[in-house]
Symmetry: C2
Subunit: 422 residues, 2 copies
Amino acid sequence: MRQSGTNLPKVGRYNRAVVLDQIQLADGISRVEIAQYTGLTPQTVSGIVRRLIEEGIIREDGESKGAAGGKPRTTLRVNADAGCAVGLHFDPVELSCTVVDLLGRPLVVKKRPARHVTDPAEVVKDMAELVADVLAETGVDRDKVLGIGLATPGPIDLEHGVIVGAPQLTNWTRVPVQHMLSETTGLPVTLDNDATAAAIGERWSGAGRGVADFAYFFFGTGIGGGLILNHQVYRGGSRNAGEFGHSSVLPDGPECYCGNRGCLERLVNPTAIVAEVHRRLAAGSHPDSALARVFAEDPDAVDHAAIRVAAAAGDPVAAAVIDETAEHVASVAVDIANFLDVDLIVLGGHGIQHVESRYVAVVAAALKSRPLSRHIRVVEVEASPLGTDAAVVGSAALVLHATYSPQLSALVGAGVTPGSQR
Amino acid sequence: MRQSGTNLPKVGRYNRAVVLDQIQLADGISRVEIAQYTGLTPQTVSGIVRRLIEEGIIREDGESKGAAGGKPRTTLRVNADAGCAVGLHFDPVELSCTVVDLLGRPLVVKKRPARHVTDPAEVVKDMAELVADVLAETGVDRDKVLGIGLATPGPIDLEHGVIVGAPQLTNWTRVPVQHMLSETTGLPVTLDNDATAAAIGERWSGAGRGVADFAYFFFGTGIGGGLILNHQVYRGGSRNAGEFGHSSVLPDGPECYCGNRGCLERLVNPTAIVAEVHRRLAAGSHPDSALARVFAEDPDAVDHAAIRVAAAAGDPVAAAVIDETAEHVASVAVDIANFLDVDLIVLGGHGIQHVESRYVAVVAAALKSRPLSRHIRVVEVEASPLGTDAAVVGSAALVLHATYSPQLSALVGAGVTPGSQR
């Protein structure tokens, strides 16, 4: 593990990315403002802006008034349709696909049930079909497609673009999915795990825009996490950072498959939530619970989605269980605040659909009252504005991030983006 | 919060620091090896090395054989006595002071009880006297003193070099100690909290040399922490990262002064450990415990130090309590492994003197069996080789770090080192 030096071409690419990042984050910005915010000289900014305009990535868009008596400043904006990225989220039960513009805004999202999940070649074929579908539907010029971002359940081997094998993915032992999908589609493929992809999506076009340090909780079948520290994706030495789901919140709690006890994910997952609600509904009478009446007629109808909808509507049994699970999430959020002093915690993923505001309320209350540094500043919490599409929009953002974001790893590393292969 | 661009002078300073870092980390290294490890061109490396030799910071030291048939390579080493740094640790009960050479090796350590702690001006006077003492005793040339590193209990305001006020420091409300000490001594002063200083000391001359990502637990009166991520000190948005002591390890545990419950620091601190050992000794007969016999004669003799010495010697009561506290530390270490995927966890500070190996054994066992990524790699744990001098040696390392380390904040930030003032 060595620290690398840097050189002029890397500096040029980095500064270009820094300038583009400012334009992407702002709703219209002038050259003078970019120089102020980035510390770059006006000359450097002008040179980079000229080349970005020539390449069609940004455009001049009217003038704004400068300081009193100063000459008007030209507003710069990203040409959102100068390029696009495809995102694919491979969930064991569903494939989702999107095309996003240069600002990370989805033009379309298509989903289909995942078929033949035990046969990687068939899954890659389905992925390629779905990509062809969304490109046809949006009618974007193929030359403008920067690449495909593929988000999959972890663990993956980013170095080799390989899915190592997730609990639910039988036969996926070291499948070179990145290479296979690139061969089939003729497009470069960037691979990452779904929680990291979703975190990058938040940084690009969600709640984390312009935020230096934030933690992202991804609620899917399990609980994944992603970390953006100092504006950079933080992955850790073996690229396994962000496993918030395996924090032990009840030291004497039930055993988790991971080998730890009382893990957050063991207590807060769809199966556990459904089991707990069923237990309470079966154990007592709940005259004020609409969900209890459904349960009496058909217990199977009280599934995870029904519980979340009921909790959102204020059903007392469903709401109590959801709020208790949110308390566990809050404990881990407080640990993250104490360990990492992040600016923001983002909650996202389909697992909290309908109950986002309950989760946010419980976590916000904990962050206001328990971290040591709360008197200096309170860590914010937000639900992802990307909703259930966080992972698929995030997977497209992987491509934008690899192509455009100012990445220190490119400045002081070997200059190779992990997990990207053409 | 914006990402800054960079420029040629910053790149030059950064690359110089990267080269010096390689020489400092290696026990003899050639120009060719530096180029290989850093990715810098041989020309860039040669230019930087030439200037470092001219400035007397490094020297050529014999030749080693190059690759088969290649010409011999000149070995480069840091001139350890080309400069030195003073370290001061301000603990509410004790002032410690050291002078270290350019490799971070202490030439002397002096301690004195902290007097007049309620009068900041008197404390600064004592600090200045202690600095004069160690400089006189080591006889180093004043011109060679790079500066003073001052480590204090947090929280501090690094921006303004001010101690904000720690629980044990009455009258220390926003005292501009950095400026006061610099005025009195005529030397530049770098301020930081003691846990961060100790972590930087580990990175410079302790267990963390050359390690990209590690977490440091500092056991003093409380439990502090420091994080080195991607070879950089990670401080967080409000500079309060690393509060490992306030992780809630027992959700229903006793209330902590911080507002959380069952905090690690609440369970693992000298007072709590002494109380628990006394409780057990008073409650039952322990024929196999030498400590029980001491307790029977004089309970006050069974203090924190005596308990640690007894545990190290295998006393069953002391060892059981120490191992139980180590289990709590292990839980937080597992969380850090899951959240941050660090390479190493370092345990240090006077609070674990004599029982370092018991703590390391318990934490190592947990890191081997509980983090999710343990099948990919096991996170290491080590006791700090700096022992009880971790904070004072670390405070001197603050100066070396600010002067010599390749800091990304200097490359892509405003170029100002936080907390340093001349």
